[in-house]
């Protein structure tokens, strides 16, 4: 019997497949597959107040990837807790709420409010490249990353995952800083910062000019960073960035991830999270792996 379970800072996921923040909606993704199949649902970023997000176009396709500049459009934490959370909690899987903020106080306010609910974990997004104030700034400087972690850790009654940005010179430095301040886990990577120009219209494709770059194109960067961070800190890692297949999941696990998130893949194929989970099981059966830990240990570094 294969055991896919994962212990993420004390929270037990039935399997390592989670949904990357911003690429999943309970209602809409749930039209395509049974949400109970997921190890956890990670929600779109939620802030203390409603955010309108950026102007359109917000999406551009690139070679093997895509750009988005959604800009964390969200209805605010109060609406979320009242109207969206109950729906999610009805499923037999874990709920991880992705938290957005423009200031440390913003993050803390959301974390405090969520602490009074039955969500399982918080994922603190200090790395979104699509908001002008805060966001990216927190994730690219160790001191700021440490500070956010410290303050949110103080007020949160839930385990906190800090989501790291790849747009830095040395990601291990940031990872160490958030570990030192009490993060319970880290997730990486958020999107790279990218840009596309329409040479016929002669302007950037995105209204916001630059956007977050995701999809299979970026996987080599993500695997590298998970590998580096695994060797720098002891916290559990959620690995993501370009996962399209079960073998991609194995790649992240071998690099050092405890769980993974599937993002852009769910645009190319709405049932990707479940298909990928089944491919992971097929890989494990083929090589007779019984647990994820065995996969990790099979890696020859």
């Amino acid at each position: 019997m294969i055991d896919l379970s994962v212990n993420l800072a004390g929270v037990i996921l039935s399997n390592p497949i989670t949904t990357a923040s911003g690429t999943f909606s309970g209602h809409d993704s749930g039209e395509f597959y049974n949400l109970n199949e997921l190890g956890a649902m990670i929600t779109k970023g939620v802030a203390n107040i409603p955010w309108e997000g950026n102007n359109t176009p917000r999406i551009a396709e690139t070679y093997g990837g895509m750009l988005n500049s959604v800009g964390l459009q969200n209805p605010g934490i109060d609406y979320f807790i009242k109207h969206e959370l109950p729906y999610l909690k009805a499923f037999d899987t874990k709920v991880i709420v992705n938290v957005a903020g423009r200031s440390i106080e913003d993050y803390c306010e959301v974390a405090e409010k969520l602490s009074e609910t039955d969500v399982d974990m918080l994922e603190i997004n200090i790395s979104c490249p699509n908001v002008k104030k805060g966001g990216i700034g927190f994730g690219t400087h160790s001191e700021m990353a440490a500070k956010v972690t410290k303050e949110v850790r103080k007020v949160s009654k839930k385990p906190i995952i800090i989501k790291l940005t790849p747009n830095v010179t040395d990601i291990t430095e940031i990872a160490k800083a958030v570990e030192a301040e009490g993060a319970d886990a880290v997730s990486l990577i958020n999107t790279l910062l990218g840009m596309k120009i329409d040479v016929h219209k002669r302007r950037p494709v995105l209204a916001n000019k630059m956007g977050g770059f995701s999809g299979p194109a970026i996987k080599p960067v993500a695997v590298r960073m998970v590998y580096q961070v695994r060797r720098a800190i002891n916290l559990p890692i959620i690995g993501l960035g370009g996962i399209m297949t079960g073998e991609d999941v194995v790649e992240f696990i071998m690099a050092g991830a405890d769980a993974v998130s599937v993002g852009t893949a769910a645009f190319a194929n709405p049932t990707a999270p479940v298909d990928i989970k089944n491919e992971l099981i097929a890989y494990m059966e083929r090589y007779n792996f019984k647990t994820l830990q065995e996969i990790r240990e099979a890696f020859i570094d």
Partner: protein
């Protein structure tokens, strides 16, 4: 779990104008899911093109749907290469389509590659209907609209066929009147028509286009601004789910 991506079988595929193709796809589930003004997502097989291509449903049959699409980039170029008998990756119908209102006289206004969804709409409207359709150069779907009982007026930018000019000019020129408008086409056209209808105080349903990430409501990539009594005076609504069809009067155009 009412939606899925299926393999549809291509049973007809013809070029009906320069770089404009009509594809009839057989798949019971897709056909059963469809209503007028909705769209489907087509998924290219080439792995370097990841995103779905949204295409409006032009006609709905028992076990088939008909799409009409223009070749503009890599995805539609790939689709154009498919042969009859091959399969295509296609979603069941998505979005909120036209709400046909059987008023006295409906006016259907289409621009270029926005004309296709008007065909199924025309078929479902039992009232009197007029279609005003504009193209750069070469008209298409005229016969289909006529077969659906519409009186068809054509405008082209080049003047090669029908009226030389745009659809709004043609409407004014011909004095076309109606008590309900429906429209699909380029944003500039939709905006002009919405303004025109607003001035005339006739309702208009418009079908919008926007770049999509997921095509099914998960990513919030495809929004448009709809008037709302919020602080900013609007709310971002999803074109792929709340739309593509909105009331012209509720859309905020200028951004």
């Amino acid at each position: 779990m009412s939606k899925k991506v299926a393999e549809g079988k291509i049973v007809q595929h013809t070029e009906i104008a320069a770089d404009v193709y009509r594809m009839v796809i057989e798949n019971k589930e897709v056909a059963a899911s469809a209503s007028c003004g909705q769209f489907v997502n087509l998924y290219p097989r080439a792995k370097h093109t990841l995103l779905p291509r949204p295409i409006s449903i032009c006609e709905i049959g028992e076990e088939t749907i008909t799409l009409v699409y223009g070749v503009v980039g890599e995805g539609t170029k790939e689709f154009a290469s498919y042969k009859v008998g091959e399969t295509i990756r296609i979603s069941t119908a998505v979005g909120t389509g036209f709400k046909p209102q059987n008023t006295k006289c409906a006016v259907l206004v289409g621009g270029g590659i926005g004309v296709p969804p008007l065909v199924e709409l025309a078929k479902q409207l039992t009232c009197e209907k007029v279609a005003v359709i504009g193209f750069r150069d070469e008209p298409f779907l005229k016969e289909e609209l006529e077969k659906a009982g519409a009186k068809v007026y054509i405008a082209t930018d080049s003047g090669k066929a029908g009226f030389k000019g745009n659809v709004i000019e043609l409407i004014k020129e011909e004095g076309i009147e109606g008590d309900y408008f429906y429209s699909c086409g380029p944003k500039v056209m939709l905006k002009a028509l919405a303004d025109y209808c607003m001035a005339k105080n006739v309702p208009v349903q418009v079908s919008l286009e926007e770049r999509m990430g997921c095509g099914y409501g998960a990513c919030v990539g495809c929004v448009c601004k709809v008037k709302e009594s919020t602080e900013s005076g609007y709310e971002h609504k999803k074109v792929c789910k709340d739309g593509p069809v909105f009331l012209g009067s509720e859309v905020i155009w200028n951004d």
